[in-house]
Symmetry: C2
Subunit: 396 residues, 2 copies
Amino acid sequence: MVATLSCPASTYFVRSCYMRENHDQLKQQVTGIRTNGSFRSPVKVETLSQTVSTSTTTLGQAVTIGENGLRQNIPTKKQLVDPHRQGLIIEGGVGYRQTVVIRSYEVGADKTATLESILNLLQETALNHVWMSGLLSDGFGATHGMVRNDLIWVVSRMQVLIDYYPIWGEVVEIDTWVGASGKNGMRRDWLIRSKATGHIFGRATSTWVMMNRKTRRLSKMPEEVRAEVAPWFIEKQAIKEDTHEKIVKLDKEAKYMNSDLKPKRSDLDMNQHVNNVKYVRWMLETIPDQILEGHQLSGITLEYRRECGSLDIVQSLCEPEDDEILDGVVEPDYCTNLLNGLSADILNGGGVLTCLEQSSLRYTHLLQIKGEKQNDEIVRGRTAWKRKIVTIPFST
Amino acid sequence: MVATLSCPASTYFVRSCYMRENHDQLKQQVTGIRTNGSFRSPVKVETLSQTVSTSTTTLGQAVTIGENGLRQNIPTKKQLVDPHRQGLIIEGGVGYRQTVVIRSYEVGADKTATLESILNLLQETALNHVWMSGLLSDGFGATHGMVRNDLIWVVSRMQVLIDYYPIWGEVVEIDTWVGASGKNGMRRDWLIRSKATGHIFGRATSTWVMMNRKTRRLSKMPEEVRAEVAPWFIEKQAIKEDTHEKIVKLDKEAKYMNSDLKPKRSDLDMNQHVNNVKYVRWMLETIPDQILEGHQLSGITLEYRRECGSLDIVQSLCEPEDDEILDGVVEPDYCTNLLNGLSADILNGGGVLTCLEQSSLRYTHLLQIKGEKQNDEIVRGRTAWKRKIVTIPFST
């Protein structure tokens, strides 16, 4: 089943690996961080304590700029904590948690984190999970076993649900872990949580398979790689009962269309492919501004079909699932005014809830590569949107 | 002089403020972090130590999602250390240092941090400097005194020099501090440094003035605001002998031009203006791909003239300062081959240095708003580029 999927050499390269540590190794991890065969003094969390000292050299010897290995310091053993990444291993040794502060440039005009920023942080925490595992090879998330077999991770499906968007300066925790998906696939899940209250802001799940780097064909998971990743698998799921409802394929009758989208140099990532986040931007930019201004994305599902190269010309199609005119556009301020208390008496009349229900919108999306004879699908998508309303959703 | 400048309501809002602490306050800062008038238990740096515990509530009481003040936790007193931002006050109490890890999505296809990422990190550290100072008001970097006077910071000039680009996973330290610039302006400088070796990767300096938020006219610095910011001023400069060589204004004879650039919703920042980083992207995208592929930006100077709104249509002009054909395009691999040792005998002949000098390129840039009668300048720029060559530039 999985092997028949056509998947892109995606930008969401995530892999997880495993190294059984014994007590001696654990002891080493506590006293020193192993870097490419030589020990350095432990990276002290206390380096952040108040001091006016100049920069300290944490490596025993100076590192030459040209030596990427030393500059990156990819761990060769499993690490339990990384003070610079503010990450630590959780879930009994197989999950990863990272604390992040929402930065000034990660928020949009409304001061809340953009979907793009959130997708970037999911990618970052996934890769840091692999980083901590000690078997990150050269490349964008492949294990040593995968590199030996010329394999890369490709994502076939991704779903993100966001209840609340973190704001500028907010401290959030992102948990991520992996599980089995069929015989040859891997599931990766995430939870985004307020550090201050523990409340869940968002959840995400994704499915991964392996592709041969040279033939670009999907591959079974070699036993060597299974031995690396399987010990990290757990059953826990961030999104329960994901029904995998099929996303219909749009055609040229779609209501909205952006054509002639061309990848730019800055859209390419370490794998020389158009970054996943760029896909999402192309998708969302077909939705009219008046919808985007009053709504916030509450859910997105992506089904990846093939990769997009730097020379491809892309078309973005979008179709509302319901009649968006009635629901969201004609009366953009009506519900907001109601809920802002301008018509507080109506709030008790039951009309508001109806208004809110009506105002959630759904769209189907398609990105495809424009071809001479036929168009090749890159990714199908579905998005759900809720009206932006200031609420106090829980009062624990 | 400064007051006659026409400046944009830029996106680089940075302000610095001051609160004279006494010993009691200092003691408070060590034992507890004051947040909006109530003390919470100190944010322990040790929270990153290995633990599988679930999320802890760092505030004594649960925080409701809707209350941005509590979610942001903007300090009301000067802070000396922020473990989540990995920041601390340096330079005898007036400068700020932040440790950052270069993230997977902050690098380009060559695995080095993009200029955009670096500009974003400069903005972030500047705002976090203000954050730590304890007088950050609502908005994008304005002090309480500025808010009372309806003033915002606008940037008039920015210069960034980058010798080495950090790579994916590299840990860097960014220092930032402020100084006086004329009678009514402020200078903000940055240093970007390898955490491992202390070597300097890049330097930046910028000039800021105040603008009335309503009249959009430049303003003198009120005494009330001077009292906030002046105690933070120091003389130190990241870039010495900045000669302020005037950037010529390009016209329609420029060699390269991108027209009809339209800001998108995602290009707007918290101030509803097109983000500064977007300006730079528009500038650099006029340079031909074959130049960008073989070169790395080593310096950029920006002179801001006016702000760009979401409805403006922008034109990006670019002119090489020298004959780029001779220097960079015709023989793209010649110098690289030489330096990779393929013709090692030539390395000793003195030809390589000449080759390197020739291969550095300079461009003049202009972004302007297309108008019916005349075009309004947004920003003039100058960029310098060096060929990408793997070198080991120091061997301490």
